[in-house]
């Protein structure tokens, strides 16, 4: 609305200004209402409803009739169940979903940190390659993008066969004298199976976003640095890295939030064996056992993701302001900040809906 108000006086003659503004205001309201309704239906309602549900007890069994009865208000017990590991009067024994919360939390963090780190390095590398002019560049670009085009479920099945006990991965390891590994079952191989598949699939996404950033860097900056006699490493650290930082941060934010919600890959590849149950898998398993408790868990996951997103936005924003002054650059930086914030909000909103629903 503010954009409309600012734009109007500049383009329209002053005489019509008042009536046009009033009309525009009404029109603006009309135009905004569908969006508000839409956002309410798909984001606010599921989110609020999930929180409401999380404060009710899961249905319990009436011993006399053998039928389930509504559990009533639960207070914070669904939350203490997960966070303090309380199963009724005792702490949750191994083999209950409650006891898996912290292992799921840490393994999800582990996947996030390791996958995203590897993806940044590989993605940067791929992007720099794709940004260069050479013969067959189109072919390389297409080849790099193929894994991203394959659905995650299919990727998971592909790696399930590759990493099977009798699969090609163990066969190749055998050639160099390593005993076959239980990729989908043993704790460490299973964790790395998921990281390998995840990195394979999503590095192209990272590379694509970084490439978009690289293409915004004007070539005269590089020419100037060449004239000044900068080494390749200096060019990379002093020019490429600072200038690509904002799109890179957006890419990292997207990927971080993505991995924090990882579900399909471990669900299909390992089924949670070897301690690879992620937080989202735990939510789905809990939904089958009782959804009020699952609502509490998904709210916890949502809060974790929201905190991470907020940290990224704060952190990313701070970095942008510290960039070297200069009116042109500063303006661009501000634009990027707005973009990053909007993008982050969009991602975290999606995760709200996903967590709540």
């Amino acid at each position: 609305m503010s954009a409309v108000a600012q734009g109007a006086p500049q383009t329209k003659p002053p005489k019509l200004r008042k009536s046009l503004n009033a009309g525009q205001g009404r029109l603006g309201l009309l135009l905004v209402v569908p969006t508000l309704v839409f956002l309410t239906v798909i984001i606010i309602y599921p989110l609020v409803w999930a929180i409401v549900l999380s404060f009710q007890k899961d249905a319990g069994l009436d011993k006399a009739t053998g039928l389930f009865v509504e559990g009533g208000s639960a207070g914070f017990s669904n939350y203490t169940h997960w966070l303090l590991q309380r199963c009724g009067e005792t702490s949750c024994p191994p083999g209950t979903l409650g006891s898996q919360f912290y292992s799921a939390f840490w393994v999800t963090i582990f996947f996030t940190v390791v996958s995203v780190t590897i993806e940044i390095i590989l993605g940067m590398w791929f992007a720099i390659i794709m940004n260069k002019d050479f013969k067959g560049r189109a072919l390389v670009r297409a080849a790099i993008l193929i894994p991203w085009a394959i659905p995650t479920a299919v990727t998971a099945k592909l790696f399930y066969f590759i990493l099977a006990y009798d699969g090609i991965a163990n066969h190749l390891l055998g050639l160099v004298g390593i005993d076959p590994l239980l990729w989908t079952s043993d704790p460490w191989p299973a964790k790395f199976a998921i990281i390998i598949a995840d990195v394979w699939k999503t590095t192209p996404f990272m590379a694509l976003l970084i490439l978009a950033g690289l293409q915004l860097i004007p070539s005269d900056v590089y020419e100037a640095s060449q004239i000044d006699g900068a080494s390749r490493w200096q060019t990379f650290t002093k020019i490429t890295l600072p200038l690509v930082k904002v799109p890179l941060m957006v890419a990292v934010l997207f990927r971080t939030l993505d991995v924090l919600r990882i579900y399909d890959l471990p669900a299909i590849l390992t089924g949670g064996a070897g301690g690879t149950t992620s937080l989202s898998m735990l939510v789905i398993k809990q939904i089958r056992a009782g959804f009020h408790s699952a609502a509490a868990l998904s709210t916890i996951v949502f809060i974790i993701i929201a905190i991470v997103a907020w940290l990224f936005i704060q952190f990313g924003g701070a970095e942008v302001i510290q960039r070297p002054p200069g009116s042109k650059k500063k303006g661009k930086g501000d634009d990027d900040t707005t973009q990053a914030t909007t993008a982050a909000a969009m991602v975290s909103n999606t995760s709200m809906g996903g967590g709540g629903a």
Binding site: L29, V33, T40, G66, P94, G95, A164, L182, D186
Partner: protein, 428 residues
């Protein structure tokens, strides 16, 4: 400025109105309990829902019914081939109190959960179903709180596949089977495998080992009693199989198919699996054991007592929200009739729930494993019949997996399983 703030108020009001509308809509939605359990004698068209039909028996079945009942036609709906997805699809429909599904096919382990939620029509009184001639275990699995809630349509039990070219007489006890492992070693094969990956199949297999030694997961009143010396013997025997290498390490990743592939490739001496493997091992182009295998009951703890199988299979139940329950009950009787079950066996290899069919000469001729399967199902113990089955199976899977992957000692694993089952069944 004033104009703007006014508009802003308007916007806010509009937003708030939308919100409260939403709230009203959803609260009325969740409070209305107008489940129309209309008269039980109503007739009309109904819908039957089951998992994906892999053997093309659903269409002819429904066609046969529709020909005889032109005014009470059945529409068949196939779900996905994944049990979890079938379960979730049914739950969503029941939660919505939808009358879209009249007769539903339920896995034996879901019956108690659906019944306790009040989603299934009890088969008693006017809706009673005669269960004489059914295998007792299949009826027990369809019964919750002393009431029958579903009609057993198909059954399933574990049997031991063995290489008759290498082992002339199949082992009857687990100790004998371990002795035969020397033969496997000599031929550079793996000895024994079942389903030991961390999924529902592990619940089936681990429970079988504990039941075989006289252990129980829950007693008749539904109380967890798994932490017993008998269960410990069973779990220890299974863990020993892994420790001694009788069961190969990679069996920790085996579901049904991986074990079948290994057996058909001639890499496995003994395989615990369901009857569906029989025809595949006999006819698969890639099978190297076509003429070299036979089936036997699962090996037991002592001679003379074969192993105890877990029970698989499906039942058909009537939704509590069905509007044509009389038709639904007739269709249930039709689905479970002797002729229909014979057809299911002949065309789809679905094991019958009626005992008489296991001695049917023509069936036994085509499916020589039927007498073995009958023994397996006769001694089968249903997995715990409990409305908290999802939590119960997690408790069994996680803790038996910890034991067979040698991360936790069997006695500690059973203590944990007992505690987890107690927590699961108390519903928290």
């Amino acid at each position: 400025m004033a104009l703007y703030s006014k508009r802003r108020t308007l916007t806010l009001l509009a937003g708030a109105a939308t919100l409260s509308l939403m709230a009203a809509a959803c609260s009325s939605g969740s409070n209305s309990s107008s489940s129309d359990t209309s008269a039980d004698n109503s007739r009309g068209p109904i819908t039957y829902v089951q998992g994906k039909d892999n053997s093309d028996i659903l269409a002819p079945t429904v066609a046969a019914w529709n020909k005889a009942h032109p005014n009470e036609k059945v529409t068949a709906k196939e779900q996905s081939d994944q049990a979890d997805q079938q379960h979730d699809d049914l739950v969503q429909n029941f939660q919505a109190k939808s009358d879209a599904y009249d007769v539903v096919s339920v896995d034996v382990v879901w019956t108690a959960e659906f019944a306790a939620k009040g989603w299934l029509t009890p088969l008693k009184g006017d809706m009673a179903l005669d269960t004489t001639g059914y295998l007792p275990a299949t009826v027990k699995a369809a019964t919750y709180n002393n009431t029958l809630f579903a009609a057993p349509v198909s059954s399933d039990g574990g049997i031991l596949y063995y290489r008759k070219d290498l082992v002339p007489t199949p082992p009857t006890t687990i100790d004998d089977m371990w002795k035969d492992c020397a033969i496997a070693k000599k031929n550079n094969m793996d000895c024994y495998a079942g389903q030991f990956a961390k999924y529902e199949g592990l619940t089936v297999n681990a429970t079988e080992w504990m039941n075989t030694f006289g252990g129980k997961v829950v007693d008749d009143s539904g109380k967890p009693v798994v932490d017993s010396p008998e269960s410990l013997k069973g779990l220890t025997a299974l863990v020993d199989g892994f420790k001694q290498g009788y069961i190969p390490k990679q069996a920790l990743t085996y579901q049904e198919e991986q074990g079948r592939q290994s057996f058909e490739a001639g890499k496995l001496l003994f395989l615990r699996n369901w009857p569906y493997v029989y025809n595949l091992a006999l006819t698969d182009a890639s099978s190297k054991v076509k003429t070299k295998f036979a089936v036997a009951p699962l090996p037991g703890a002592t001679a003379g007592n074969p192993g105890t199988s877990s029970l698989g299979g499906h039942s058909a139940a009537i939704s509590a929200y069905s509007k044509h329950k009389a038709t639904a009950l007739d269709f249930l009787k039709f689905l479970t009739s002797e002729e229909q079950q014979k057809f299911n066996m002949e065309k789809g290899s679905l094991a019958p729930t009626r005992e008489s069919l296991y001695s049917d000469a023509s069936l036994v001729k085509t499916y020589p494993y039927l007498p073995t399967l009958l023994k397996s199902i006769q001694s089968a113990v249903p997995r715990p019949v409990t409305p908290f089955y999802p939590a119960v199976t997690t408790a069994i899977q996680d803790n038996s997996y910890a034991a067979i992957s040698l991360a936790t000692a069997p006695d500690q694993a059973l203590k944990n399983m007992q505690a987890a089952l107690t927590a699961a069944i108390s519903g928290s």
